[in-house]
């Protein structure tokens, strides 16, 4: 079972991963976006870690809901409301339980991903974060976090040949082809941090 502390460590691990990869995310975003994805997420998750050190919600749902609100409030770009909605809806789907199973997490994360798709009006294949998140939640259905990480990474890599149909990159048309999507790349970091947190707990 996964408790509030597990979810706090997931958010801290994501902050570290985003920090580590910020330059790469911004480089990917400079090819097809406005070159701020790394710095925006870095600022957002730094704020998430900061508030989780000050306030300590005692349920998994509380941790993710607080993190999501913080992202919406601190990130000036589209990644704020998108990741904020993902975490907040996942948190709300987890409800008030003090501990949740991997299967509960899988179901809640699917609700979060569905909310992101509705908010942005995007579907898999549009070259967005959904191209990493949807395969990840599909793989997570069996509760296997390592499989979710692999699926998210493959999903992010598979965005390279796609033409963007959402967001600023869509204005580039065919010129968006040949570049890995920064949003799918950061989504793979989030899922990777989840798997890493689970491995750390098991050790």
């Amino acid at each position: 079972m996964l408790d509030a502390d597990f979810f706090r460590r997931w958010m801290f691990a994501t902050t570290v991963a985003v920090d580590h990869e910020a330059a790469r995310l911004t480089e990917l975003d400079s090819a097809i976006g406005d070159a701020d994805h790394g710095s925006n997420l870095q600022r957002g998750f730094a704020a998430v870690s900061q508030i989780l050190e000050q306030e300590s919600p005692d349920t998994p749902g509380g941790v993710l809901t607080l993190a999501g609100r913080q992202l919406i409030s601190k990130v000036g770009g589209a990644s704020g409301p998108l990741y904020g909605t993902l975490l907040r809806r996942t948190g709300k789907a987890l409800g008030d339980a003090a501990e949740v199973s991997e299967a509960d997490l899988a179901a809640a994360l699917r609700a979060g991903v569905d909310a992101v798709a509705a908010l942005g009006g995007a579907a898999p294949g549009d070259k967005t974060m959904l191209d990493a998140l949807v395969p990840a939640v599909d793989a997570l259905d069996g509760g296997d976090l390592a499989a979710a990480r692999t699926a998210a990474e493959h999903g992010a890599e598979a965005t390279t040949p796609l033409q963007a149909r959402r967001g600023r990159a869509s204005y580039l048309g065919p010129r968006s082809i040949g570049h890995q999507d920064p949003g799918a790349t950061s989504a793979a970091l989030l899922i990777g941090a989840l798997a890493e947190t689970a491995e750390g707990s098991a050790a």
Binding site: I72, S73, G76, G77, A78, G80, P81, T85, L119, G120
Partner: protein, 137 residues
Amino acid sequence: MTAPDKAVGIVLVSHSREVAESVARLAAGLAGGGTLAPVAAAGGTEDGGLGTSSELISAAAASVDRGAGVAVLVDLGSAVLTVKSLLAEGDELPDGTRLVDAPFVEGAVAAVVSASAGADLDAVVAAASEAYTYRKE
């Protein structure tokens, strides 16, 4: 033209502080004399950069709320997504706040003119949305 006590409030959300403030001035100027409906600009990030700030949007909406609803007009990407996610949150914006699907400049003028004339929220939203139907060629 006199706006009733309970005029619909208008919030203009742009990626740029200057764009939001300028469009607010343009719309107020074209709404002419008499009492203006309350208009607030929420442009850029809190530090003055390009982007969207949920804090500025919430504060702007609260500042124009007179109890008759608030019409929010937005420009691009993160402005749209941030307002939608604030509306989904439920308690971040005044009751009766609506995101209006309208062109930013033309919609702002239509919204401010109609709200200043005493139109209710449905009529303000309709006037702003109708600005899409005006073709330029």
